[in-house]
């Protein structure tokens, strides 16, 4: 394992009285893809959103424990959550480009965060990295909403990349896409791994096996098993993991 970039220490997350994440401790490594798998409702999204403080917006949600990014607790008093989100980007389940042009979708984030850039270059680079450039280079100023679902999702990845984050969180990024678009995104994840640490939530076990270096299996808010993807899929240590991977429940 390379140096961990995010460490979760004894984290519990409550929605009101209900506990959705149960005293979880785990590390995420730099420049690796970590997959989070588990049946629907087991707390995957809740955990992922706690890593860039997107849970701040949920009324009645409460955290216990720590999330450390580069050894600083992101829930400490003196932390600016905007800065956290600049460094830890997010791609959502449903593609959610802004109702603006493709170009503006890329530049908006860096602009409001006060980046000074060669904007043309940033747009080109981000779109190239997201494997979208060739498809849209002739219509950068048309609306992002005219793109197909798969293209929109790659635009959202480009938008996240344009912020030059260290970590990218992806919450079931392919669940709204057809198989072809899904393969494109998976290829992309392979390439992005060189430059970013990626945490991907997926309910699709083949996808986890294909794209990730490590896999964490959650069940009812508990971290059941966490290890190298190959080991989790071939030699799981826990019966529950085995059962889930063999499709006995979920």
């Amino acid at each position: 394992m390379t140096e961990p970039i995010i460490k979760i220490e004894d984290l519990s997350i409550y929605y009101g009285e209900k506990r959705a994440i149960n005293q979880v401790s785990m590390d995420f490594c730099n420049n690796e893809v970590t997959a989070i798998i588990g049946p629907s409702g087991c707390g995957k999204s809740t955990l992922l959103r706690s890593i860039n403080r997107m849970n701040d917006f949920v009324v009645g949600l409460r955290n216990e424990g720590k999330v450390l990014y580069r050894d600083k607790n992101i829930y400490a008093e003196d932390i600016d959550e905007s800065e956290i989100r600049r460094n830890i980007g997010m791609v959502f389940q449903k593609p959610n480009p802004f109702p603006k042009s493709i170009y503006d979708n890329i530049t908006w984030g860096p602009k409001i965060n006060g980046y000074k850039e060669d904007w043309e270059k940033l747009v080109e680079e981000s779109l190239k990295r997201a494997a979208l450039w060739d498809e849209v280079k002739d219509r950068l100023h048309s609306s992002a909403l005219e793109l197909s679902g798969g293209q929109q999702q790659r635009l959202c990845i480009a938008r996240a990349i344009a912020m030059r984050p260290e970590v990218i969180l992806m919450d079931e990024p392919c669940s709204a896409l057809d198989p072809k678009a899904t393969f494109k995104i998976e290829d992309l994840i392979h390439e992005l791994k060189e430059s970013y640490s990626i945490l991907i939530v997926t309910h699709n076990m083949q996808q986890a096996a294909r794209v990730s270096d490590r896999t964490a299996f959650f069940y009812l808010g508990d971290l059941i098993e966490y290890g190298p993807t190959k080991q989790i899929f071939e030699l799981p240590k826990k019966d529950q993991t085995q059962d889930y991977i063999q499709g006995k429940f979920g």
Binding site: F57, R85, G89, N96, F98, P99, G109, I112, C156
Partner: protein, 295 residues
């Protein structure tokens, strides 16, 4: 059993149809009455003199029926009311949808609804006994009846509607739009300014149009606050008369039916009807657009 349900369904269907048809019939007869009575008026007064005349003195000799002063009065009320209600209403809506906790929202929304339910005559007294004296402190030369007070009170009256519709507009936006923006490290101000407001322009435009059409139609409060002096001066400190206020004046006065003064109120009513009708049509057309299409 089957037949009974069927019979019930049928009767229910027809009962509803009767209500719909009644509403349509009432609307139609209003239009017919307006047209009929105004035709008497236009037999005596040239249409162009009516539409472009700058003097409205129907009850004084020499009589003059130029509707522009009334339209001017109406527009002063509309402009003043919107200038107040739109920014304040937007601010309330932004607060409600983006900043208010669930609990304060639960308290503020009903207050808005109560405000919307107060009879307009009460607002008129409020303007006369509270707003005007207040304004007199700022503008000592202001008249007892003045357009400014009328405009402000109409602004206050339409504020709940503006705030509520804008709030609905913001809440109709998909939450994923906000998440995408905050996920890039944006601050609430930037999300509102660059994402939520542009994505709601069609909603806000529709709200604006409905608000204008309510302000045009408002009667009692304006009559009470702004007076009954047709005036083409654009001076907000002076008394004015709006189209609706004129219609009230004629209905309450002792002008004999079929006299030209009496009929003139129908001609004014017809103009009013056409204006608000088009406003509502445009408003609904804009509102029918999906929230995200506007950008």
């Amino acid at each position: 059993m089957q037949n009974k349900t069927k019979f019930f369904d049928r009767s229910f269907h027809y009962a509803l149809l009767v209500f719909v048809l009644t509403t349509l019939a009432v609307t139609l007869s209003v239009v017919v009455v307006l047209l009929n009575e105004s035709s008497g008026f236009f037999a005596h007064v040239n249409l162009l003199d009516f539409l472009f005349g700058t003097k409205w003195t129907p009850l004084l000799e020499p009589k003059s029926f130029g509707i522009l002063p009334l339209i001017c009065g109406t527009f002063m009320i509309v402009i003043g009311a919107i200038a107040f209600a739109l920014p304040v209403g937007l601010a309330i809506a932004i607060y409600l949808s983006e900043f208010a906790s669930y609990n304060s929202r639960k308290r503020i929304k009903p207050i808005l609804e109560v405000l919307a339910g107060i009879p307009t005559i009460v607002y008129g007294f409020f303007a006369l006994t509270f707003i005007t004296p207040l304004l007199k402190n700022i503008f000592p030369e202001i008249q007892i009846f003045n357009a400014l007070s009328g405009a402000l009170v109409v602004g206050i009256m339409i504020l709940p509607m503006v705030a509520s519709l804008c709030d609905d507009g913001f809440r109709a936006l998909p939450p994923s739009l906000r998440e995408g923006a905050y996920g890039l490290g944006a601050k609430p101000y930037e999300v509102i300014r660059h994402i939520l407001l542009p994505a709601s322009t069609s909603r806000i435009a529709a709200t604006l149009i409905l608000a204008i059409s309510r302000a045009i139609g408002e009667t009692m409060a304006v009559t009470l606050a702004a007076g009954a002096t047709p005036n083409l001066s654009f001076n907000f400190l002076d008394s004015i008369q709006t189209m609706t206020a004129y219609i009230v004046q004629v209905s309450l006065g002792d002008t004999p039916a079929n006299s030209i003064e009496y009929q003139s109120s129908y001609a004014v009513g017809l103009v009013l009807f056409i204006m608000t009708f088009f406003m509502n049509v445009i408003g609904n057309l804009v509102l029918a657009k999906k929230p995200l299409e506007a950008m």
